[in-house]
Subunit: 307 residues, 2 copies
Amino acid sequence: MSILVVGSVAFDTIATPSGSVQDILGGAATYFSLAASYFTDVRVVAVVGEDFLPQHEAVLTRRGVDTRGIERAAGKTFRWGGQYLDNLNEAKTDFTDLNVFEKFQPRIPKEYLDTPFLFLANIHPALQTAVRLEMDGVKLTGGDTMNFWIKGTPKDLAATLKLVNVLLINDTETKMLAAEKNLLRAANKVLAMGPKALVVKHGEYGATIFFREGAFGIGSHPFRAPALPIDEVKDPTGAGDSFAGGFMGYIASQGEINREVLKRALFYGGVMGSFAVERFGTERLQNLTRGEIDARFQVFRELTHLE
Amino acid sequence: MSILVVGSVAFDTIATPSGSVQDILGGAATYFSLAASYFTDVRVVAVVGEDFLPQHEAVLTRRGVDTRGIERAAGKTFRWGGQYLDNLNEAKTDFTDLNVFEKFQPRIPKEYLDTPFLFLANIHPALQTAVRLEMDGVKLTGGDTMNFWIKGTPKDLAATLKLVNVLLINDTETKMLAAEKNLLRAANKVLAMGPKALVVKHGEYGATIFFREGAFGIGSHPFRAPALPIDEVKDPTGAGDSFAGGFMGYIASQGEINREVLKRALFYGGVMGSFAVERFGTERLQNLTRGEIDARFQVFRELTHLE
């Protein structure tokens, strides 16, 4: 079944110990779409400026992504600059030029309204809420957020969390959102805010999914997927969005939601994140095969599998 | 088969967000012995002072630990004080009174010399080397070390690493020892220093075992065991030594060393570490049953197991 992602398309300028790149195609919706496109049909709602050229759109359409929801606005596309020179686990932002993204008001094309799966990438929670309310028939909503909204717009975020079924954030965001240092207790507090499931991304250590008691009828034991130790992380940008794309894309491809599907989805999330960081920007995500993806899935499975 | 541990016995004064305790029995050899005692026969070589009373020794002997190798010296037992008030993942040391431990010269009782498994807990690497060279018939040697020796006595440590088959250290120590920020590359550099296998402990995220190519005839793919998210870490002291006790104790109990044994050992290490932190000091490790241990092993297995 198809999935709709609403989020940013951007041009990124990135420096890492492996090199640097300027104005390459990025943004949460881009990484998410490419990663999810290996599993299911993907539709995207975003805004770009006049500098978004056919060659950029082709990156998405070559992967079969439906780009009719990408709005063209007068001005420049969102630009972000950051570096990971000291620490590959945390970006130091050099600049954020919101440009056309500043006034982004997601408009859902009529033909998208029946999309059964929805992912609300990291945008203002009031916009996330508005999108979700417009999508009447949605079966499962995933969402992301960040420290900026947790601290800056807590009321808007609280409203969004009541509508998000699966929230995907990292350890620091989980603890900040719950105002609680212990991860398990923090996760339970976040689940009490609305989501049925919480995926906490641990970076190089994988991810854990926590369930609200009775959610999806599958019990409340958490499940953890490892991440592969990688010998060179070229560019961590987009790893979390690629994780979300693999996770949500796999769920959408299965239609049915049960414990085993969610477990496998967590592994596929890690797999797509691990591919994303192997090259700068979206390069690696543009040219994968499902065979490569499933081979790495097996490697991840073997990494923790006891007979 | 039996295992010999050489290391510290101490009295610890600890403050954590859950409370504080004074002068309770601790030390690497103590945690290791108790954890390993659930799997196999344990012998211990350590030094204590006149303040080490029959009630302290009974903590070990009640678990069947052979304490004939604990030397009594004039003076006080090693004392350590630390707190985890800000960060449960890292101790802030308040004081270190080495006392009788300062002049510790491990003496291996004759009846211990044929012990097939050996664990060199965190002591001066020159002492680790001396012990290992005395133990002619040892089948497998595990070892620990820390930043203090990595920076302070690199040559002595290099000699020790040539004699240690399985090194158990944490992420920070691995990267420091290899002078390399990437974990996989750091692990490979450490393996080139001597050990056939390297266990990197990730705290709340579990542990990964890396293998030197061809080591134990089992290929070189790493294996990762998760850790259980715990809702209250009362006292992290000794978690790493308890991990080592579970890991080495399980291997010693199997006799044979193969990939499946090492994988299960990594899980048992995590299990024993997770029990240790549930209570202050060694309290939880004193009164476990093998049934409780195996039940938690199953929980850990389920935590990452795909059908």
